[in-house]
Symmetry: C2
Subunit: 339 residues, 2 copies
C-alpha cells in the first residue's frame, strides 16, 4: 500500500458562528485494518457540502451531530484496497459515506459500485449523485414546475442549483439564477442555458433586479440560501407559487439572536403560495427513476456540470470553508491522489 499512514480530519470543537480552520484538526493515524465483511477504501474524491455545518452543531440538523474529537464523515468515491466482503475486490471503484480521510474502513453493505460509463466517477458525488437527485426532487416533486413557469434558483452555480436550473430549462421553464460572481453568472447563461443570471453582490437593488429578470413574476423558487437574497425573490412570488426549501446556506452560521435570523414575516396567504422544506432521502423510492433521467441528460449533453477541485486531504477544511464564501463553481471536491 506504499504508506501505513492515514491522514484524517477531526472536529476539533463545535464552531460558534462562522467556522474557522481552528475548528478542524488533521491527524495522522495508522491505516485501519478491515474486519470480517469490511472493506478498506482509499479515497479518490471527497465531497464537502453545506449541510455538514449542521452536523457540527449539538442538535440543529436532521442528522446526528458529529462528536467532537472524532473523524468527520463525508460522501466519497474511492478505490477498494482490501475487501473482506464478497461484493467487492481490490481495484473496484466505490461510493460510500466515508470520512474526511485518505483511507476508510466500512462495512461492505454501506458501499455501492461506481461505474458511470458516461462520465468521470467523480460525478457520482454531484450531477449523477445526491446533489443531482436533490435538484430533481426539489424542482419536479416539491416545486411542481410546469412548462412556462418562471423558476428562480439561488446558489445557482452550486452543485445542486446548477442542476436544478437546467432541469427547469429542460422542463420548458424560464430560468433565472442568482449567484455571487460574474464568472458564475456567465457560466449559467452562456453554458447552461439559463435565461438570466443575477449577481447579488453587485446588483444595485436586488428586488428590482429580480423583477427585471422575471417580468411575469416568480412561479417557483428553488431556495438554497435564505436571508436577503431570499427576501428579494419572495417579493415577486405570484398566485399559486411554490417555494422548494432545499437549504439556507446564508443562515447556517447564524447563532440564536443573530440579526440574520430575523426578516419579513412571510405567510403568503394572498398568493396561496406553498413553501415546503424537503430532504432528498425521504424520496428514495424515486431514485431509480431519477437516476435514469439524470444519466440520459448527461449522456445527451443536456445537463452539464463543473467541478472545483482542491488537491490533497490537507485542503479539505479550506474547501469546506470556501463553500460559505462561494469560491466553488459547480461541485466542490477534494481530490486525493493515490500515490
Amino acid at each position: 500500500m506504499g504508506t501505513t499512514h492515514n491522514r484524517q480530519w477531526r472536529l476539533a470543537n463545535r464552531p460558534t458562528g462562522e467556522p474557522t480552520a481552528d475548528d478542524f484538526e488533521l491527524t495522522v493515524d495508522p491505516i485501519p485494518e478491515p474486519g470480517p465483511k469490511e472493506v478498506l477504501v482509499r479515497t479518490d474524491y471527497l465531497s464537502v457540502d453545506p449541510y455538514m455545518r449542521g452536523r457540527m452543531r449539538e442538535s440543529d440538523s436532521y442528522a446526528d451531530p458529529w462528536p467532537v474529537g472524532e473523524p468527520m464523515r463525508g460522501r466519497a468515491v474511492g478505490t477498494v484496497v482490501e475487501s473482506n466482503h464478497g461484493t467487492f475486490e481490490a481495484g473496484d471503484t466505490v461510493f460510500g459515506n466515508l470520512y474526511w480521510a485518505e483511507y476508510a474502513v466500512v462495512d461492505g453493505t454501506e458501499l455501492e459500485p461506481v461505474d458511470t460509463g458516461i462520465a468521470p466517477n467523480s460525478t457520482a458525488l454531484h450531477v449523477l449523485g445526491m446533489p443531482g437527485r436533490t435538484a430533481y426532487v426539489g424542482t419536479v416533486d416539491v416545486g411542481r414546475i410546469e412548462p412556462g413557469d418562471t423558476v428562480v434558483v439561488s446558489a445557482a452555480a452550486g452543485a445542486v442549483g446548477s442542476v436544478a436550473g437546467q432541469i427547469a430549462r429542460i422542463a420548458g421553464c424560464r430560468v433565472v439564477g442568482i449567484t455571487g460572481r460574474d464568472e458564475k453568472a456567465d457560466w449559467l447563461t452562456d453554458d447552461l442555458g439559463f435565461d438570466a443570471a443575477i449577481n447579488y453582490r453587485t446588483a444595485d437593488h436586488l428586488s428590482a433586479a429580480v423583477a427585471d429578470a422575471c417580468p411575469r413574476g416568480v412561479d417557483c423558487y428553488f431556495e438554497n440560501v435564505g436571508g436577503e437574497v431570499s427576501d428579494a425573490v419572495m417579493d415577486r412570488l405570484v398566485d399559486h407559487s411554490r417555494v422548494a426549501v432545499c437549504g439556507k446556506i446564508a443562515l447556517y452560521n447564524a447563532e440564536a439572536g443573530d440579526d440574520r435570523l430575523r426578516g419579513p414575516r412571510r405567510l403568503h396567504q394572498r398568493t396561496r403560495t406553498r413553501v415546503e422544506g424537503f430532504i432528498v432521502s425521504d424520496h428514495a423510492d424515486r431514485f431509480d427513476h431519477i437516476n435514469a433521467r439524470l444519466r440520459r441528460w448527461v449522456e445527451d449533453d443536456r445537463l452539464r456540470y463543473r467541478e472545483t477541485v482542491t488537491d490533497g486531504i490537507e485542503t479539505a477544511s479550506d474547501a469546506f470553508l470556501g463553500l460559505f464564501e462561494g469560491t466553488n463553481v459547480g461541485k466542490q471536491l477534494v481530490r486525493i491522489d493515490g500515490e
Copy 2:
C-alpha cells in the same frame, strides 16, 4: 315598507394602521329601487369579517379595494322586499354579497335562497357558510389532518377557528386552541371539546405553554393570526408538519416598516414543513360536498357555534373594529330589525 330611508356605511377614508370610527361614515339615502332582474333586500344579519381590512387598502388584498366614499360590501342574510327576478318573491330569505346597509338592491343572480331547516338562518353567515367551508378546506384539504395529529388553531374562538378545531376533533386529532380571553378558552374546552386552550394574553411563556399543551409537538397549525402567537406555535412544529395559512389578523393593521411585520425567518427545511396559504373560493368545486358534511354535523350536534350580535346598522363599524380586539365569541354579526 314603513320607511323610505336607508342607512348605510361608506368608507370615509383609507385607514393607516389601526382603523378607527373616523374611517367610516353612516349616511342616510333613499331606499334604492330595483331595476329589471334586480331584487330589493332588507338586511337581517350583516357579517363583519377580518378580511375586510384588506379591502380598505389601495391594493393589498386578493379582492379589489373598496372605493373611498362608496358604500361598503358585506355578506348578509336578508328578506326580499321586492323582486323583479323570477327566482325570488317578497318574503324570501336570501344570502348575498350585499352592503353595510339596511337595504340593498342586487341582481337576482347574485342571491341564494336560505333555508337551513336545521339552524337559524344567520348560520348561513358562519358555520353553514363561508367560515365553515374555510375551516373545512383549511383542515382537510390544505392541512391534511390525520387521526392522531396534534392540531393547533389560533383565533380559535372565532367564526373560522371554532369550526376548524371541531372538525379536527371529529377527525380524531388532539386539538389545542389559542385565544385571548378565559371565557373563550372555557368555551373551547367545556363546550366544543377542544383538548386544551391557551389564553395568549395571560400565558407566562407562550412557547412553553404550547409545548405543555402539545407534548408530541404540532403536526398541523391552522394559522389565523400571524405575529408572536404564530411564532410560539412554529417553534413546536414536528417533521412533515403542515401550516394552513388562512389569515393573519395580528398583522392586518401593520403598515410597511412596522415591527410586527418582521420576525423569525422560517424556512422549515429540517422538518420538511409545508406552509400553504389558501383562499376558500379557490375550492368551490368542493362546496357541495363540504356543505353536506357541515349540515350533518350541526344537525347531530357534533359541530356547535356561538354568535356575538350587535343590534342596529349603526353598530356595524364598532362590531368590525371589535374583531381586532377579540371582543367576539364565535361569529360577529350585526342584526337589523325590520321595523
